[in-house]
């Protein structure tokens, strides 16, 4: 029986189809799909959340920066 690494590599290289896999190998691939799909979904949400958080903070910093610029302008008068 081939391991999951070999199976996935061959799938991505279009070297095998479902028909070329044994039932055990299919089970292995199905487990891989289940585990990886959850992981990818979790990580994607995490990355999106982090990006959103940074963008919000950038917006706040922009506003604070504008206020500070006004103060500096006032200071120079």
């Amino acid at each position: 029986m081939r391991d999951i690494k070999e199976l996935v590599s061959k799938i991505l290289l279009n070297e095998i189809t479902d028909d070329d896999m044994t039932e055990e190998e299919k089970k292995l691939v199905m487990d891989f799909i289940e585990k990886e799909s959850k992981e990818i979904e979790k990580e994607t949400k995490k990355a999106q959340k982090e990006k959103e958080k940074s963008l919000k903070r950038i917006e706040k910093l922009n506003k604070a920066n504008e206020k500070l610029d006004k103060l500096i302008e006032k200071e120079s008068k």
Partner: protein, 217 residues
């Protein structure tokens, strides 16, 4: 009419064929559950690969945003620090070393008030203000230990200021200075003197009461 229906069926069939033969590979999240059930495993693995590539892009974008955020924050903090470094001397005026004041203290108050009044900027400004205030407070202590204090372009000493303060206090008590002649700064100083005097009076009164009590006993 009939031709439209036939063409529509043809399109649907073609879509199904593409989907189930793996020609139509989309990111994993875009498939509906009933579609996923019918998909070949090889197509699902390819679809997962697409989602994984997208995740890489999302992570890269998040890192870029985070890096931009850190750079902006560092630059803002530096700018704010420079602003206060330039203006903090305005708050060091001889005896009256209070941070909160009118006129000279306008900039700092304005900034602090802004921090409090701006909920969206508060979490950014408030800690900086706090940090700067504690720095200024420390420097106030240092200034007290040093004889020379720079006020704007003029140089004076704590002792000179103390003398001026005492002289002003005496003039006030003697009624030499009239209220209408007082500047805003002097009005504030007078308020402080009155407060100090009230505290002193209260202390004297309390001590006298204790003495009287002792005598009675």
């Amino acid at each position: 009419m009939f031709e439209d229906i036939v063409n529509s069926i043809k399109d649907d069939v073609k879509k199904d064929i593409d989907l189930y033969t793996g020609k139509d590979v989309r990111p994993f999240g875009s498939y509906r559950p009933h579609e996923l059930r019918k998909l070949p495993l090889t197509t699902i693995v390819k679809s997962l690969k697409m989602s994984w590539d997208q995740l890489g892009k999302e992570q890269e974008e998040a890192r870029e945003a985070q890096s931009m955020e850190y750079n902006m924050e560092a630059s803002f903090v530096q700018k704010a620090k420079n602003f206060f470094d330039r203006n903090k001397r305005k708050f060091v005026v001889g005896f009256n070393l209070a941070l909160v004041g009118v006129g000279a203290g306008l900039n700092l108050n304005y900034f602090v008030n802004n921090g409090q009044m701006l909920p969206e900027g508060q979490d950014i400004i408030a800690p900086i203000v706090e940090k700067i205030q504690s720095t200024i407070q420390q420097e106030r202590i240092d200034e007290m230990e040093q004889p020379v204090v720079t006020v704007g372009e003029h140089e004076t000493t704590i002792t000179d200021k103390a003398t001026e303060h005492e002289e002003f206090k005496a003039e006030l008590q003697e009624g030499v200075v009239q209220e209408e002649e007082l500047t805003q700064e002097q009005l504030e100083e007078r308020a402080e003197i009155n407060q100090e005097q009230n505290i002193e009076d209260a202390k004297v009164k309390q001590s006298q009461e204790i003495q009287t009590d002792d005598m009675v006993k």
